[in-house]
Amino acid sequence: MAESKPGFEVRLANFTGPFDLLLGLIAKHQLDITEVAIATVTDEFIKYIRKLQKLGEEWALDEASEFLVIAATLLDLKAARLLPAGEVEDDEDIALLEARDLLFARLLQYKAFKQVAALMAGTLEQEAGRFPRQVALEEHFAAMLPELVWKHSPEQFARLAESALKPKAPRPTEVGLAHLHGSAVSVKEQAEILGLRLQLGKPLSFRALIADADSTLVVVARFLALLEMFRDRAVSFEQVSPLGDLTVHWTVDGREWSTENLREEYEELP
């Protein structure tokens, strides 16, 4: 796992959603998906959200939940990338490949809509220069209009106003469930499992660390946990070649480490 490249910036204000952000990240050619430093992105994002919260912006919650989708998506992609090329060994590998293809298809679809939205923006802009003739009816024609039938008493009219002005009950919010996973996996729990294994002192590959994971979700959670441990300098990473195995070492500082250090933002994640 490499550190983020110097100068890499996440300017979330420029993105309109997780797919947008993901496409933005990918478009930066230096960002091989395995090298996107999720920790850096997360840091930037949390800083951004805190700033919004200070300003009392109501979008903070929305964007925070969007970010969970980004993080999960990135981790899905990363997990998929960690499969050695062309080697499909078991059901889990197939599941990862399927997840990757699905994500790829969704990204393609999103990118297509983004492109047509840009075309539409151009057309709307161009058309805004044409003003329709919609002038008031000439007085002699307006005078010909049939006399208005008016049957409302002031009280009836007031009731009409009451109902028109009453705040509309918010429409039932439909919650997109597509990104939700079946069972909750705690990053904290996974961190504990990893900590116990690594504390024995022997460096372990990421493959080995996820060998017993029974779902993509556990892989993702362990990945996140490792990133957290890396932040706390409990572990270090070593990767000899770009697609090679990622080796995880327990560091000296790791003696002090406990899952209590995990920041609360991650407790419920993913």
Binding site: A136, P146, E147, L148, W150, F157, A164, K166
Partner: protein, 216 residues
């Protein structure tokens, strides 16, 4: 054609059709009659030039083609063609394009087609919001009602129930208020006589002007 004012923006004479077409473009979409001075200011032309162009267009619409400044290659003498279906009229100093009076019967028949004497529910509700929250912009009424109210506001204006009451100093949007005809139909003396509404109904404070909002 030599009295043009200094021109900071686009020179209308460089556009296809030149100053004459630019003037026509403005006249075609103007709702209220405009004076030659107002037109000249907007077009960055001298008033004398606009006066001349207005007279030219007026003659042309009535069927007398005159030598246009950008048609120097055409024949010099004005020849007559058939009149157009519209005319340019100067009423009380203001210029506006109207349908030609000859066609009043046909136009009237067309206008009356499909007209009803009754306001739709959407129109009534919009009128109620305007009556109780006046003066108010269309954008705010849209925000309260949750739908676009542009065409309903046009109908209510045409029916003489509401009217323009100037511009919002901040957004520049037109503000609407009810008319004395509305009071007459309601049988009350002033808008203050409208029955009180529950004090718990939201005012305009929380309703953002969505045209201004840069975040959606």
């Amino acid at each position: 054609m030599s009295q043009e004012l200094p021109d900071p923006g686009v020179d209308v004479r460089d556009l296809p059709g030149g100053a004459r077409a630019a003037l026509e473009a403005v006249l075609m979409v103007l709702d209220q009659p405009a004076t030659a001075i107002e037109l000249a200011a907007g077009l960055n032309l001298a008033v004398a030039v606009v006066d001349e162009l207005l007279a030219e267009l007026q003659r042309e619409y009535s069927g007398y083609t005159v030598k246009a400044p950008d048609m120097d290659d055409a024949s010099d003498f004005g020849f007559s063609t058939s009149p157009r279906g519209f005319e340019l009229r100067n009423i009380a100093g203001g210029w506006r394009i109207y349908s030609r009076a000859d066609f009043a019967e046909i136009v009237g028949r067309f206008v009356l087609e499909g007209q009803t004497a009754r306001l739709t529910q959407a129109a009534l509700e919009t009128l109620a919001v305007i009556a109780y929250r006046q003066p108010v912009s269309r954008a705010r009424v849209s925000a309260i009602r949750g739908v676009n109210v542009d065409s309903v506001v046009r109908t209510l204006t045409q029916r003489g129930l509401i009217e323009d009451s100037g511009h919002d100093p901040e957004s520049g949007a037109i503000l609407y208020r009810t008319t004395s005809y509305f009071l007459e139909r309601m049988g009350i003396g002033s808008a203050a006589e409208l029955p009180q509404l529950s004090p718990h109904l939201p005012g305009l404070e929380g309703i953002s002007e969505f045209y201004d909002a840069d975040r959606m």
